[in-house]
C-alpha cells in the first residue's frame, strides 16, 4: 500500500510553492482548498476569472452577496485592494500571461505537459469548457492538483492524453496524493514523494518510466 496524503494536506503542500506577492487563480473544485492553506500574514492576490482580483474568503452567515461570486459561482468576499473588471479585461489578464500561478484539476496530464480536464469525450455528455482552456495557456505556471489514480485505479499521469485536450504542453507541475511531479520533454520528473512511496512503486502504478527531478 502506497502512502497517500489527503486533499487538505495536498492543498497545504501546494501553498508552500506559492510565493508572497503572487497573482494566483485557483480553479473550480479541489484547487479552491489551496486558498485556506495560504500562509497567514502573507499577501497573495487571488484572481477569479469572472472579474476580480483580491478575492477573499466565503462571507459570514447571512452575508451572502449574489453579486460577489467566484468562478465556481460560490459566494466570496473582497479584500482591501480588490479591483473589479469586465470579462474581456479579465481574460486578457489571463491570456496575456499576467497570472503567476493557476491551480487546476485534471482528468489526465501527459508527461509533456498536455492537460485534459474538461471532457471525458463521453458521447452523451454535455460539453462545457468555461475558462479552463484560457487558464491552461495563460498562467506563467500551471499547477495541477489531482489524485494520482482514478477511482478505477487508472493513472491520471499518462504518456499521452486519451481524453480531449484542454491545452498543449501547458502543465508545469502535478501535485498528487502520492507525490509531486514536473513535466518535461523526456517524461515526468519526480520532485517529491510523500511518506514511504518509492519511484519504483509509482512507476508501477502509473506504467510510466519516471526520473528524479
Amino acid at each position: 500500500m502506497t502512502t497517500r496524503i489527503d486533499r487538505s494536506q495536498l492543498a497545504a503542500r501546494i501553498a508552500t510553492d506559492i510565493p508572497e506577492g503572487a497573482y494566483v487563480n485557483l480553479g473550480i473544485g479541489a484547487p479552491t482548498l489551496v486558498a485556506n492553506a495560504l500562509p497567514e500574514g502573507q499577501e497573495i492576490v487571488l484572481h477569479t476569472e469572472n472579474g476580480m482580483l483580491g478575492m477573499g474568503p466565503r462571507p459570514a452567515e447571512g452575508q451572502i452577496d449574489p453579486d460577489l461570486i467566484n468562478a465556481g459561482k460560490q459566494p466570496v468576499t473582497a479584500l482591501p485592494g480588490a479591483a473589479y473588471f469586465h470579462h474581456a479585461d479579465s481574460f486578457g489578464m489571463m491570456r496575456g500571461g499576467h497570472l503567476d500561478v493557476c491551480v487546476l484539476g485534471a482528468f489526465q496530464v501527459a508527461q509533456n505537459g498536455d492537460l485534459a480536464n474538461w471532457s471525458t469525450g463521453a458521447p452523451d455528455a454535455i460539453p462545457a469548457v468555461g475558462g479552463a482552456m484560457d487558464l491552461a495557456i495563460g498562467a506563467k505556471q500551471v499547477f495541477v492538483m489531482t489524485d494520482l489514480l482514478t477511482k478505477q485505479g487508472g493513472s491520471k499521469l499518462v504518456e499521452t492524453c486519451t481524453y480531449p485536450l484542454t491545452g498543449v504542453g501547458c502543465v508545469t507541475r502535478v501535485y498528487t496524493d502520492h507525490g509531486v511531479f514536473d513535466t518535461s520533454p523526456d517524461g515526468f520528473r519526480v520532485r517529491e514523494l510523500f511518506g514511504d512511496n518509492t519511484i519504483a512503486e509509482i512507476a508501477e502504478l502509473t506504467g510510466l518510466s519516471l526520473k528524479e527531478a
Partner: protein, 248 residues
C-alpha cells in the same frame, strides 16, 4: 434632449424579431438580467440565437426561454451545470444547437465585434477539439488560432445605475459580460436598479459609456441592498434567507 430611459421592461425588449441573435449578460446569477429575460419571454420572439456564458439554470431565465422552445442555438462556454436540466434535455433531443466557446475567446470575440476587429489570433484552444477546422498560425514561436467576432442584434444585461444618456455603472462581479456585450449589439438594453440624474455618475467610474447603450430601464433595487448599502439576508439566488438557511 437625449433620453434612453424607457418606462417598463416590455418597452425595453420591444422590437426583438424572430431569428435575432440576443446576447444575455450574467455569470451564473450575478449580473443576469432576470427581468429583461422574463420580458423577452413575454414578448414572444423565437428562433433566437442566445450568446451567454451559461445556458440557464433551474426553470427561470434562459432556462425558461429554452423550455418555451424559443431558442434555436446557444453560443456559450459552460452549458453544463448542476441544475441545467432544461438545456440538457433539449440538447440531447437535438432540439437546440450548441456552439461551445472557451470563455476567454467568447469574451474576446464579443469585444472584437464592438471594437471593429475583423478577426484575431488567440492561443486559447490551440490543439483542442474547439479549434478543429480553424485557421492556425505560428507567430513568434507560439501557436495561435484565428477567431472571429460575435455580433448581436440585441444585448440584454444588468447594471447597477444608469442615466438618461445610457451611462452605466456596475456592481462587483455582476459586471462580467455586460459592458462588452453592450458594444457588440445593435441595440443594447440595460436593466438597472435606479436611473439617476445626468451628471451624478462619476465620469471616471462609468464602465459602459452611453454611446454603447440604447435603452435603460429601472427595475428597482436588488433585494440585498438598501439605499445602496449591502444588507445581505439573501441566498445566492437573491431570495430571502429563511431562518438558519444559507443556500449554496
Amino acid at each position: 434632449m437625449i433620453d434612453k430611459t424607457v418606462v417598463g421592461v416590455a418597452d425595453a425588449v420591444a422590437g426583438i424579431e424572430d431569428g435575432a441573435t440576443v446576447m444575455i449578460g450574467g455569470f451564473g446569477r450575478a449580473g443576469q438580467p432576470v427581468e429583461l429575460i422574463d420580458a423577452l419571454i413575454e414578448q414572444g420572439a423565437g428562433d433566437l440565437t442566445i450568446v451567454s456564458n451559461n445556458a440557464g439554470n433551474g426553470d427561470t431565465g434562459i432556462a425558461a426561454l429554452l423550455a418555451k422552445k424559443r431558442v434555436r442555438k446557444v453560443i456559450c462556454s459552460f452549458p453544463r451545470q448542476s441544475d441545467s436540466w432544461v438545456f440538457d434535455g433539449l440538447y440531447r433531443a437535438g432540439e437546440v444547437e450548441l456552439e461551445l466557446v472557451p470563455q476567454g475567446n467568447l469574451a474576446e470575440r464579443i469585444r472584437a465585434a464592438g471594437a471593429g476587429i475583423g478577426a484575431f489570433f488567440t492561443p486559447t484552444g490551440v490543439g483542442t477539439q474547439l479549434a478543429d477546422g480553424k485557421e492556425q498560425r505560428r507567430i513568434d514561436g507560439r501557436e495561435y488560432v484565428l477567431e472571429y467576432p460575435i455580433r448581436a442584434d440585441v444585448a440584454l444585461f444588468s447594471a447597477l445605475k444608469g442615466d438618461r444618456w445610457g451611462n452605466l455603472v456596475f456592481r462587483e462581479t455582476a459586471r462580467n459580460f455586460g459592458p462588452i456585450m453592450a458594444t457588440a449589439a445593435r441595440t443594447a438594453v440595460a436593466q438597472v436598479d435606479e436611473i439617476v440624474e445626468l451628471g451624478s455618475l462619476d465620469p471616471e467610474s462609468i464602465v459602459a459609456p452611453g454611446i454603447f447603450v440604447d435603452r435603460v430601464v429601472a427595475v428597482g433595487e436588488r433585494r440585498w441592498l438598501e439605499d445602496g448599502v449591502f444588507v445581505g439576508g439573501v441566498t445566492l439566488e437573491g431570495e430571502p434567507l429563511a431562518a438558519g438557511e444559507e443556500s449554496k
